[in-house]
Symmetry: C2
Subunit: 155 residues, 2 copies
């Protein structure tokens, strides 16, 4: 159903790697070797993450990247924002003038609310969780109640 881009996935892997050694500085090439993602791609991702202050960079000889904040203070939503940008669930919300009919235009607004709820969910997950460094399994409030859950396929 919903999808995040591969780049976001890679970005998370890179951040997880940095989270494992928060004090150490890694060059883009080192991270590429560690994560098996191509160097230019890693580089591109790190630049994106840098702009959003998720990583801290040092230029020049012996330079490299390091986490910009403690992993616990970086959420999945932050990562999504940095890499995919603050794109909304629907496009309707942007050039929403000639949506068709008045009664159906409410639809775009409703998706927007869903979007906010989804966002909230993603803010509950920190990089620590994503990196598997938090020990405890991720604990969603919304997963606590039984629902109608149609499929659970993982593979």
């Amino acid at each position: 159903m919903l999808r995040i881009s591969k780049l976001t996935d890679y970005g998370t892997v890179i951040l997880a790697r940095l989270a494992a050694a928060p004090e150490q500085r890694f060059t883009a090439a080192q991270l590429a070797g560690l994560t098996r993602v191509a160097v230019p791609t890693v580089s591109k991702l790190l630049k994106l993450l840098h702009r959003h202050e998720l990583v801290e960079s040092t230029r020049g000889l012996h330079g490299g990247y390091r986490l910009g904040r403690p992993a616990a203070q970086i959420s999945a939503a932050d990562i999504l924002d940095a890499i995919e940008g603050p794109v909304a669930l629907t496009e309707c919300a942007r050039h929403a003038h000639h949506c068709g009919i008045e009664s159906t235009c409410g639809v775009g607004r409703a998706w927007q609310k869903v979007n906010i709820a989804l966002r909230r969910t993603m803010q509950e997950v920190s990089l620590l969780d994503l990196a598997g460094l938090s020990g405890q399994p991720i604990h969603f409030h919304s997963l606590e109640r039984p629902t109608r859950d149609k499929r659970g396929a993982a593979s």
Copy 2:
């Protein structure tokens, strides 16, 4: 950040339209006129929705489409499933063998959990809400209580 496809958006608009007059049958062409979506596209969407039993069809002369169930029993997740299929948040979960390194492989699993939480959220929203027919604003459990909310950034 997250995006649903245009088709899903259109599909929702069409369903919202049907929800407004649950007893009446509409032809694909009528719905196209009502929603300003091209006829072949509407047709394609209705077929998809039909396969998942979200709409009921009648063939032949004076045929057409109608909601397959009460709008209250159709969730946003159902619509997503019907149109976009049960695609997961990451691809890592599918051919997850050479993710790179062992410690980073947990990342894919974590996204999977996020995915489930997101799904849960979408099951809380019915077509009635989406169509703006429920009177009351959408009411998310997850938006009600304060969460552990590490950062409060909203946009």
